[in-house]
C-alpha cells in the first residue's frame, strides 16, 4: 500500500524520514537553510513521544544529541556551514566514543557567513575531515526530495548499525526544492536498531564483536560504564598504552572499511556504452541528468556516475568505468573537492575535466553540455 502523493520540500522529507527511522530526540540551533528541519521536528516529535530542544548554540545541539543517544534514543541535529564548523569537535567525540547520531548539513555558500540563502557544495571536505584526528565518517548526499527521505532513514540505520556519526550532506537546492513525492508504506521500510548487550554477562562497552562494532548499553539500565573522548581500552577507561591507541584508531576506521559493501551507494546511468562520464552529486546531479538526456538525443554517448555515499568514496566501480571512457567530467559547486578523489582513483586511466562554479548559483545543464562539447 502506497501513501498518497504529496508536495514537499527536501527539509520536510528529511524530518518525515527521521520520524519513520525512529528519531526520538532532536537538538539544534536555527540556521538557514536548514531551519525547517528544526521547526518540523519541534512540531512532530512531541506528537510521537519524542523530545525537541532548541539549544543555546550549535555546539550544545551536537552535545545534547550525543547525550540523548547514550540513553538509547535515536537522535539528530541539522545545521548549515557555520554551524557544521562549530559542531566538529563533538562530531569527533561521537566518532571516538562510538555514539550513533545523524548530523544534517544543508550546504550554503561559504566560507564564514558566506551566502546564507544560496546553494553550494563547499562542505564536502569538511564532512570528511572537519574534526581533527583520524576518524571514520559516513556521508550521504541526496539529489531529490524523495531521496532525502530515503537517505535520512539510511543515515539512521547506518549510525545504529556501525555506532558512528552519519552526515546527511544536503544542499540549499535540495533542502528548499518542492517536489511531488510518494512515500513508501512504513511497513516496507527497513529500520535498524543498535546492538545491545545481553542481560547478564560482564559488559565491556568497547569490546567489538566480529563486525568490529561493540554492543551498546543504554545509560540508566544497570551497566554503569564509562564513556570518554580520551583514547580508551575495551573497558571504556582512558589508556595511554600505545598498543591500545593503535588498536582503537585502526578499529574505528576498519569498522567502516569492512562494511563498505553495505555503506557504498551510487547510481549509474548509461554507463554501459558511455564514452564520456559525468560524475555529479547533490543538486548538480539534476542538471547533469538533464544534460545527459539532451546529449544522448544528439547521439553523444554520455553516461553518469552519481555517488550517493560520498564518504567513504565509492571508488572501485568508478575505476572500472574510468577504464572504458575517454574522459570524466566533474561539475561541482566548489573549486574542486570531490574531484580530488576522482583524480586520486582515476589518474593515468582517463582524462579528468573539472567544471567548477562558486557564484552560489546551481550549475545549469547548458554549462555541462558546453563543457562536454569542449571535451569531445
Amino acid at each position: 500500500m502506497k501513501s498518497k502523493v504529496r508536495l514537499m520540500q527536501g527539509n520536510e522529507a528529511c524530518v518525515e524520514g527521521a520520524i519513520i527511522a525512529g528519531m526520538k530526540f532532536y537538538a539544534g540551533y536555527p540556521i538557514t537553510p536548514s531551519t525547517e528541519i528544526a521547526e518540523l521536528s519541534a512540531e512532530r516529535l512531541p506528537l510521537t513521544g519524542g523530545k525537541f530542544i532548541q539549544m543555546e548554540d550549535e555546539i550544545g545541539g551536537m552535545a545534547a544529541v550525543i547525550g540523548a543517544s547514550l540513553t538509547g534514543v535515536k537522535s539528530m541535529t541539522a545545521t548549515s556551514g557555520p554551524g557544521f564548523s562549530l559542531k566538529q569537535e563533538n562530531i569527533g567525540y561521537a566518532a571516538i566514543a562510538e555514539i550513533p547520531c545523524v548530523i544534517v548539513d544543508v550546504q550554503r555558500g561559504g566560507p564564514s557567513t558566506g551566502m546564507p540563502t544560496s546553494p553550494a557544495q563547499g562542505d564536502v571536505m569538511q564532512a570528511r575531515w572537519g574534526t581533527h584526528g583520524d576518524h571514520p565518517i559516513i556521508a550521504l548526499t541526496p539529489s531529490s526530495v524523495r531521496e532525502t527521505f530515503d537517505l535520512t532513514i539510511k543515515a539512521f540505520n547506518m549510525a545504529e548499525k556501525y555506532r558512528t556519526p552519519v552526515i546527511l550532506l544536503m544542499d540549499e537546492v535540495i533542502g528548499h526544492m518542492r517536489e511531488k513525492v510518494q512515500l513508501p508504506d512504513p511497513s516496507e521500510i527497513e529500520i535498524v536498531d543498535r546492538k545491545r548487550p545481553g542481560c547478564c554477562e560482564e559488559y565491556f562497552p568497547y569490546r567489538p564483536e566480529e563486525d568490529l562494532v561493540p554492543p551498546m548499553a543504554d545509560f540508566g539500565t544497570g551497566y554503569r560504564y564509562h564513556v570518554t573522548g580520551l583514547v580508551h581500552d575495551e573497558t571504556g577507561f582512558p589508556s595511554n598504552n600505545t598498543d591500545d591507541v593503535d588498536k582503537l584508531i585502526r578499529r574505528l576506521s576498519n569498522k567502516i572499511e569492512m562494511h563498505k559493501k553495505d555503506i557504498l551507494l551510487w547510481e549509474e546511468e548509461y554507463t554501459e556504452d558511455a564514452e564520456i562520464l559525468i560524475l555529479a552529486y547533490g543538486c548538480v546531479a539534476r542538471s547533469a541528468k538533464s544534460a545527459l538526456k539532451t546529449l544522448r538525443k544528439r547521439g553523444i554517448k554520455v553516461g553518469m556516475y552519481r555517488p550517493i555515499t560520498i564518504w567513504p568514496f565509492p571508488g572501485e566501480r568508478l575505476r572500472e568505468l574510468a577504464g572504458k571512457v575517454k574522459a570524466i567530467v566533474v561539475p561541482e559547486m566548489n573549486l574542486g573537492q570531490l574531484v580530488l578523489e576522482v583524480e586520486r582513483i582515476c589518474n593515468n586511466i582517463t582524462r579528468i575535466e573539472r567544471l567548477n562554479k562558486v557564484n552560489c548559483e546551481i550549475i545549469y545543464p547548458d554549462e555541462i553540455i558546453s563543457k562536454i562539447e569542449e571535451v569531445i
Binding site: A27, E56, G60, I66, G67, E89, N90, T228, G229
Partner: protein, 274 residues
C-alpha cells in the same frame, strides 16, 4: 582499608586518582558521593557527567553511569540525557574554566531553563590540567603562567551568576567545609530544577605556589578562617565581613522543572487527540 562509602560507590580498581598531593578535589568528590549515599539513590539511575580539566576526571572513579565529555560542554551533554530520560538523576561536575569560560553559555542557559541537573563547580581558581593559567575565577592581580605580571581580569562570582541566570538552588562550600558541602549537595539534589553548587577547592601545585599561598594545609586553613556562613553574615557589620567570603545556601526557590514542563506538552497533545 577503604571506607564503606569508597567500597560501595567508587570504582576502587581505578584508584588512586591522578590529582596532585594536597588537591582539594578528592574531598569534594567524596562529599558529592556521600550526598548520593545519604539520599539513597540507586547507582544504576545516577548519571555523572563532566567536561575537561582536573575535576572532570572525577566521574571515572565513580561507580555510576559516567560520561567524560568535551571541554565546557558537560551541561549540554547532560541536557540531552535529562531530556531523553528525565527519570535519571543527573549530576554534572565541572571546573571553573570549564563551567564559566568555555562553557559559560551552557551554564547560563541550563540555569535559565531550570532543567533538573545538579551542577557542582570545583573552583580552584586556575587551569590546573594545563599547568596554571589564569581562569575567570582567578582573583584580580593574582598570577598565573599566562598572567606573569598579575591578572587584570575581574573574577566571576559563580553563585551570583547562576542565581541571576535563573538557577533555583544556589549554594557554596569549600573543601574545608566538607560536611556542609555534603548537606548542600543533598539539598541541591532535592530541588527538581537546576541547582548549582560552587565547591571551592585548593590547588597548591599551581595556584598556591604561583601566588605564595603556602601548602595545602595553609590553604585549607585560609578557607577555614575566611569563610563566613551566609546566615551568620546577616548579623555582621561590613567591617567584620571585609576580606571574607560567604558560604552556605544563597537561593532555594523551586520553580517548575524543564523536562516536566515538556512532558506536560506531550500529555496535552495526547489529550487533544493529536
Amino acid at each position: 582499608m577503604p571506607s564503606a562509602l569508597i567500597k560501595d560507590y567508587f570504582r576502587t580498581d581505578k584508584l588512586p586518582q591522578i590529582w596532585c598531593p594536597g588537591c582539594g578535589h578528592g574531598i569534594i568528590t567524596r562529599s558529592i558521593v556521600s550526598a548520593v549515599e545519604k539520599a539513597g539513590l540507586d547507582k544504576d539511575n545516577v548519571c555523572i557527567v563532566s567536561g575537561i580539566g582536573c575535576s572532570s576526571r572525577a566521574p571515572g572513579y565513580l561507580d555510576f553511569n559516567t560520561l567524560h565529555t568535551t571541554h565546557g560542554r558537560a551541561l549540554a551533554f547532560a541536557t540531552g540525557i535529562k531530556m531523553a530520560k528525565p527519570g535519571v538523576k543527573v549530576i554534572v561536575i565541572m571546573g571553573d574554566g570549564d563551567a564559566t569560560a568555555i562553557g559559560g553559555n551552557h551554564l547560563i542557559h541550563a540555569c535559565r531553563r531550570n532543567i533538573g541537573i545538579t551542577a557542582v563547580v570545583f573552583n580552584n581558581n586556575i587551569y590546573g590540567m594545563t599547568g596554571g593559567q589564569y581562569s575567570p575565577t582567578t582573583p584580580k592581580f593574582d598570577k598565573g603562567t599566562t598572567a606573569p605580571y598579575g591578572n587584570i581580569d575581574k573574577a566571576f562570582d559563580i553563585c551570583s551568576l547562576a542565581a541571576s541566570a535563573g538557577a533555583t538552588y544556589v549554594a557554596r562550600a569549600t573543601a574545608y567545609h566538607a560536611t556542609l558541602l555534603t548537606s548542600l549537595v543533598q539539598n541541591a539534589m532535592n530541588n527538581d530544577g537546576f541547582s548549582l553548587i560552587e565547591a571551592i577547592s585548593v590547588c597548591p601545585t599551581y595556584y598556591g605556589r604561583k601566588n605564595k599561598k603556602g601548602n595545602a594545609v595553609d590553604m585549607m586553613e585560609w578557607q577555614k578562617n575566611n569563610a563566613v556562613n551566609v546566615n551568620a553574615a546577616a548579623k555582621l557589620s561590613p567591617e567584620a565581613l571585609a576580606g571574607k567570603f560567604l558560604i552556605g545556601e544563597f537561593k532555594n526557590s523551586p520553580e517548575p522543572e524543564y523536562t516536566s514542563e515538556y512532558s506536560k506538552i506531550i500529555e496535552r497533545l495526547k489529550k487533544e487527540g493529536r
